[in-house]
Amino acid sequence: MSQLKLVGKPAQRYDAKDKALGITRYGADFTIPGMLYARVLRSKYPSAKILSIDTREAERLPGVKAVITARDVPYNERASNVVGQTTEIGAIQATQPVLAKDRVRFLGEPVALIAAESLEIAERAMNLIKIDYEELPAVFEPLEAMKPSSPPVHKGGNVLARWKIVKGDIEEGFKQADVITENTYYTQFQEHAYMELEGGVAWLSDDGVINIRLTTQVIEHYRDVAKILGIPESKIRVIGTFIGGGFGGKEDVTVETFLALLTWKTKKPVKLVYTREESILAHSKRHPFVMRYKTGAKKNGELAALKAELISDAGAYAYLSAWVLLYATVHASGPYDIPNVRVSSKTVYTNNIFTSAMRCFGGTQVCFAYESQMDELAHKLGMDPLKFREINYIKREKRLPVGQLIKSEVALPETSSRAWEALGGPKKSKKGKRVGRGFASGMQSYGRLTMLHDSSRAWVGIEMDASLVIRTGVPDLGGGQGSSLVQIASEVLGIPGKDISIHITDSSLTPLAGTTTATRQLYMSGNAVLKASRNLREIILNKASRMFNVPGEELDLVDKKVVVKKGEREMPLVDIVKQLAADGIRRNSFAMFNAPFSEALNSEMEQYKRVFPDFTFGTQAAEVEVDEETGKVRVTRLVSSYDVGKVINRNSLEGQMEGGAIMGMGYALLEDIKPAKGVIQAQDLAQYLIPTSLDVPEVKTVILESGTGLGPFGAKGIGEPSMTPTAAAIANAIYDATGVRFTSLPITPEKIVTALKKG
């Protein structure tokens, strides 16, 4: 299959039409006759003892059908290990109760559930529940929380996890360096701010199965729900909807446990949808990091040593903090070949809202730090930042400090020069404005940690009329995950997309395909669908080969026909299918695709062979205009340049690259939940600002295809990598404009005005 017919084209997504027509149903769009409406009562304090909970008055309110507190939950613990994990990371001890029993650890922690005949009644009932709290000492800064004198968030100290990577001799490395730069970088809490709020409905079906239909990136949380209810996993079915954006925020459990508990208790259908304010209180945030970096280079521009100490704020519960930290640790020295490296990291409990997955998963924080360092060093050396990086980019077949061999192409010299070129020459500053340009390179893994033994499954079957059905449990986050799979099957089997139906995201009826996280679906489920489609192709061609009396290699599948490549002959695919059926030969294929597996890591990570399947590399370049008086930064141009391995759907790819860069721009300049003593100040979208159409430049995309990725046809992943270097590129451009190195995000007008005054 050297000539690809469909793959790589800007194909129209199969889900786009329903979305344009308004037919698509999201988590909040389902109603069931007789359903109840639920609300969640949440803690008002970041740290407190619960002395008593009195629900009697709420229960007496007419129309209230259930009030659930901790004592009603059969197994009141959210599972600590995540789907697909085969080895628990030792340090994760503290799991969150489903409902707080005698202690709350962050403001917004769920305490009670209510189901009532109407939302109004549920809300009134919520106000009738009396909780007696006794406030306890709290801690909100990770550096403070690490001190032995700090109030423990959980038993056993506040350091949740630590990692360490050592390569070469760090002291010797710095001795060899002619220039050294040292700085501490700070990043903020970022909110996912997807447009669709968390929500869904649950109902009990005749077979005793609790069905939960909701918006989620992980349908396999049905296992957690079963454990919490104390019933077999086979008695919980999760049906995912099309997701109105997730970015990692719908990766942990959201409403599914609450819905299941209320349905289990009342035996009635229940609906629960968060408000925007509740959504911001209820789901995780991106980890703030404090990153102390020291990097040295020789006069000739070669990097000699890099030392990084990372501390992240895990918030009140563990969730994925240990893994996010592991990602940050492995990515901390960036896509550079450095002989001496030492990275040590800790993630620390506080009484802030818990932190967990968000696009880039620890990769963008460290990129802001290492790409600031690279820029600082280039300036100290008086070298062109592009040239300086080119000298040091890691090459294919070289090892990262952790020991992992880079097996795919590292096209950074090209992505960087192309990004810089596409950005265009320097613009003249207008009066009162300062214009600057900068860029940053990034690396980001795609696919999950190899120690998690990840796999995906897909079923592909051909109908009697030669139309095709794909079944795979892929949640579609909006990136076109399902649509790319249709395109892949269409390519292999020569069946047009309009004749293909794909059934996704149902834990009972579609083969489990894992999570839509970690930039893994195109890679994992793309390969599973590719494998199943190729198996089916072989079945069809075997039969056709006998019918034509021509070797299979000489046959092709084109537009629902089997054609003999050298010759005029062809036969409708439908005739082959009928023959297969008549002969009792299967007309479908089920395939499982496994990522590379590795042993579990321990916290002293010396020379591990493989931590991730592979990495995506790319560069972003930015031009900014800084207003000297107001400190406002306008990003006037933004270029995103990646080696994506192989383009599958050009529209979807560009969409990820444009959207990722703009999310990165928001992270660099605007977004911050601003918690003050555990209280989120940016409580809604009027206060938590994300980029609008008036704030954004038109992102220019530069796409390279090395064909060396692990995904179908050599594709790499792009969902998360598309955001990794944006903040660093913008910070470097602001330095170019102002001469000030900003080391904390977001780079707000206040920070700029203050710095320029100091001047």
């Binding site: 979305k19 344009a20 027509l21 997807y194 925007r276 909006g478």
Partner: protein
């Protein structure tokens, strides 16, 4: 609370229904008329997901009391398909890849339609202003602006095939 009777024209059809005086237009469209394409993203006018056209003007239906629509004409996304043809804006959003998760799409298209109805040939800047109240977290807006511009320039003028095709 005493109910009121609301008379309005929704997507070309006369409607009269009993509503609470404190119901929002968003609640009525979704819960009473089952127009689920009208989305709620914030409930307080920050995100634009609930945008509908009220007597020719794009409004946040979450900030509009249902009774404010008394005697008026309301158009939601599905109202664009009354002739069973895909509206040029819908077609253009699809072909330009302007739709990712799709949650902002109904509001976005209604804001674009209100603009084009008043100003059939807007500049790029005017398009950006018209949709500046509609937040999108997926696309970075580029393809959305391009999709609207293509319609304004007549590139997608023909509209589309039957919606059921």
């Amino acid at each position: 609370m005493k109910k009121c009777t609301l008379h309005m024209i929704v997507n070309g059809e006369k409607v009269s229904i009993e509503v609470s005086p404190n119901s929002t237009l968003l609640d009525v469209l979704r819960d009473k008329l089952n127009l689920m394409e009208v989305k709620e993203g914030c409930g307080q006018g920050d995100c634009g997901a609930c945008t509908v056209i009220l007597d020719g003007k794009a409004v946040n239906s979450c900030l509009t009391l249902a009774m404010q629509a008394e005697g008026k004409e309301v158009t939601t996304l599905s109202g664009l398909n009354k002739s069973r043809k895909i509206h040029p804006l819908q077609k253009s959003f699809i072909s330009h890849g302007a739709i990712q998760c799709g949650f902002c799409t109904p509001g976005m298209i209604m804001s674009a339609k209100a603009l084009l109805d008043k100003n059939p040939h807007p500049t790029r800047e005017e398009i950006k202003v018209a949709i500046s109240g509609n937040l999108c977290r997926c696309t970075g807006y580029k393809k959305i602006v391009e999709a609207i511009e293509a319609v304004a320039r007549g590139k997608e003028e023909k509209g589309g095939e039957d919606v059921t095709a």
